[in-house]
Symmetry: C2
């Protein structure tokens, strides 16, 4: 299941990026499961990666290559995460980069590898290496839609977003893809995200932009609280629109570009929640007027991870007591229960430490029947606000994750 | 569903305790849903209560009465938690104590009230007050079995444990009840627990015994990470066996008594996990050789709460990568991945940062097919160990919690 509009947006090509999507048959014969991005020379590349201590071999190698060389290729396979695979996993990730570099006549450390799928199994290197020679002739500028499908695992739909805007007479494009539906509580990035622009952006500025916008997008979603071993998000600036230059945060284009990028990143992150495993609801948990950002996030995630809140959402049950109980067990400093107020969309459900006087079950039911629901928690104790996006906990979530490996 | 032996143990009466179980029809007409314990004069009474900030009105009032007076009665209703009910909830809890005190000819603050059931609805006081006069004539010494059923909510079976032991020629009895199946991650106590002994124990020693043994029993279980608003656990020493005296931790009987009490408390706590909502597995998560108790608990709970680990357990799928990913995202200081080892029962699944060389899928499958499974995580970095008990995440969990209020 999934929520919202299933249709993929128009994805504008980004000058300086070519994409090839081919079949290596890693998990399923014939499936288009191998995606390669070719980046123009002198592109700036920034990355954010999982904080899971058991990060996968490709994550370790991508971080190393990104720090060493000028990146020209991203190679992504689905069907196998190459995580928890020890030394063999690192050998396989390196061999993948070396073979693609050989074909494309670049150095191996100019290739960043990414893998997603089952944890703990070795990559089928014979099939992967056999497919790499197919990549070169399949590179096209208009390959974003095929790539969005090519990186899917338990996703039920491809995810992409694209924006074009005029700035001082120049048209700037930003286009991105994301994937992910389960094992989703990103910590620096989503499962996988690839975003490119044709603007000219200095590497350190690009890294700052990615870190900041990922924090307020991919790092604010959770399906099931399980941070993946493979989360990676890459932002590329190909520099093909030579007049659109961002060398520092003081450049006038910076704020405009950042706002567009942030909107696109949120769109890609929310798409993961809308396609969350078994999702029937898209839920925004907004915490307002908390003492600190940390406190606001702790409350928001405690509510967003509560199995009892999530099953009530699945049941369209306005069981507001479960929301109150989750707020009450959040690991925060003491606060004034009587000042706190909780709303379902515009319906106040809790005030003065108990059920709101104005609340009626019919009003609560009316909100819970909606597909998109906002749980708003006003702490009335400070000025910090945070929003986290999540899905409900349904039978399909259990089915998908009880059957995924079989 | 539930795991383990469904039969209730023999529950020995405790001299100085009489119990009455009657019907108030709070949620279901005719259901025996009101339980009253009568304690002998001069009994010592200790309590531990939820740390959920939205603790229910009866929890607040019980804590107050316990600090004020010599307790003679515990009154427990199921079907309604009287939580999130604001001022009216406190009025209702007080009225319940006052009416029972009037009938029994004691002071109102000699009565401790307990409620369990749906959060956020007012108690049906007319039905509750009408039933209280039935209590007095129904008091019996041999009422533990009926009481165990009387306090159930979504529990599928009554839970009790009892031990008798000889000490210096005297027979000492400890008998206890617990209830709970969902909204279970106790923080000081389980949903509800009532334990009594006929020994003579000084109040401060009794409180210390309860706090310490609850920490290693009810505070080490989790079904769904949701700490209840109503968790309460009461330990009573009626002092009827006058030769069995514990006035301090130096009394020879102290260590013997404490060990028996700890065993009984663990038994009652594990019974909650065996009856966890939708449970098909009883899972012990043991963390060994961690740097600190806090670190060991953080790792154990991260694994025990992971929806992906829990659905893999439900599916009997030896998907050890999900366990490794959960350990990797635990919020602890950096550690040496290569030293860590993870076992399913006696099968080593992870060592040297990846799948153990000796591991075979058949061995893993053999363990996962069992009903009782131990996940053992050896951090090889310190001397602290902790064990947490949990259940799996099944379709029945979702069904129970999506349908509970309807």
């Amino acid at each position: 299941m999934a929520t919202g509009n299933p249709n993929l947006a128009t994805l504008h090509p980004v000058s300086g990026v070519k994409i090839s999507t081919v079949s290596a048959g890693i998990k399923t014969p014939g499936r288009n499961d191998l995606v390669v991005f070719e980046l123009a020379e002198r592109s700036s590349v920034a990355g954010v990666f999982t904080k899971n201590r058991f990060c996968a071999a490709p994550v370790t190698l991508s971080k190393q290559h990104l720090s060493e060389a000028s990146v020209r290729y991203l190679v992504v396979n689905t069907g196998n995460a190459n995580a928890g695979t020890g030394e063999q996993g690192m050998k396989d990730a390196k061999a993948t980069c070396e073979r693609l570099a050989e074909i494309m006549e670049v150095e191996a450390n100019q290739v960043l590898p990414f893998s997603t799928g089952v944890i703990g199994e070795n990559l089928p290197m014979d099939r992967l290496l056999n497919a790499l020679p197919l990549v070169k002739s399949a590179l096209v500028e208009d390959g974003w839609v095929e790539a969005a499908s090519g990186i899917m695992t338990t996703d039920t739909r491809p995810k992409g977003a694209s924006v074009q805007f005029e700035y001082q007479g120049e048209t700037i494009t930003i286009t991105g893809l994301s994937k992910g539906a389960g094992m989703i509580k990103p910590n620096m990035a989503t499962m996988l995200g690839f975003i490119a622009t044709d603007a000219v952006i200095a590497p350190d500025v690009l890294q700052g932009l990615l870190t900041e916008t990922a924090t307020k997008s991919f790092n604010r979603i959770t399906v099931d609280s399980d941070t993946s071993t493979n989360d990676s998000c890459i932002l590329v600036a190909t520099g093909q629109v030579e007049a659109a230059v961002i060398n520092s945060e003081q450049d006038p284009l910076f704020a405009v570009f950042k706002a567009h990028l942030q909107a696109l990143m949120i769109d890609l992150a929310q798409a993961i929640i809308r396609d969350g495993e078994g999702a029937t609801k898209f839920v925004s948990v907004q915490v307002e007027n908390a003492v600190s950002q940390d406190e606001a996030l702790e409350i928001a995630y405690t509510v967003a991870h509560s199995p009892l809140v999530k099953t009530a959402l699945f049941a369209c049950d306005p069981n507001w007591g479960r929301i109150l109980a989750a707020v009450g067990r959040a690991n925060i400093a003491p606060f004034d229960l009587n000042k706190l107020a909780i709303y379902l969309d515009d319906v106040c459900i809790v005030e003065h430490g108990g059920r709101a006087l104005s609340y009626s079950e019919a009003d609560g039911q009316d909100v819970m029947n909606r597909e998109d629901i906002t749980i708003r928690i006003d702490m009335a104790s400070g000025e910090a606000s945070e929003t986290v996006w999540t899905s409900d906990l349904s039978h399909d979530y259990v089915t998908i994750n009880a059957e995924y490996r079989t």
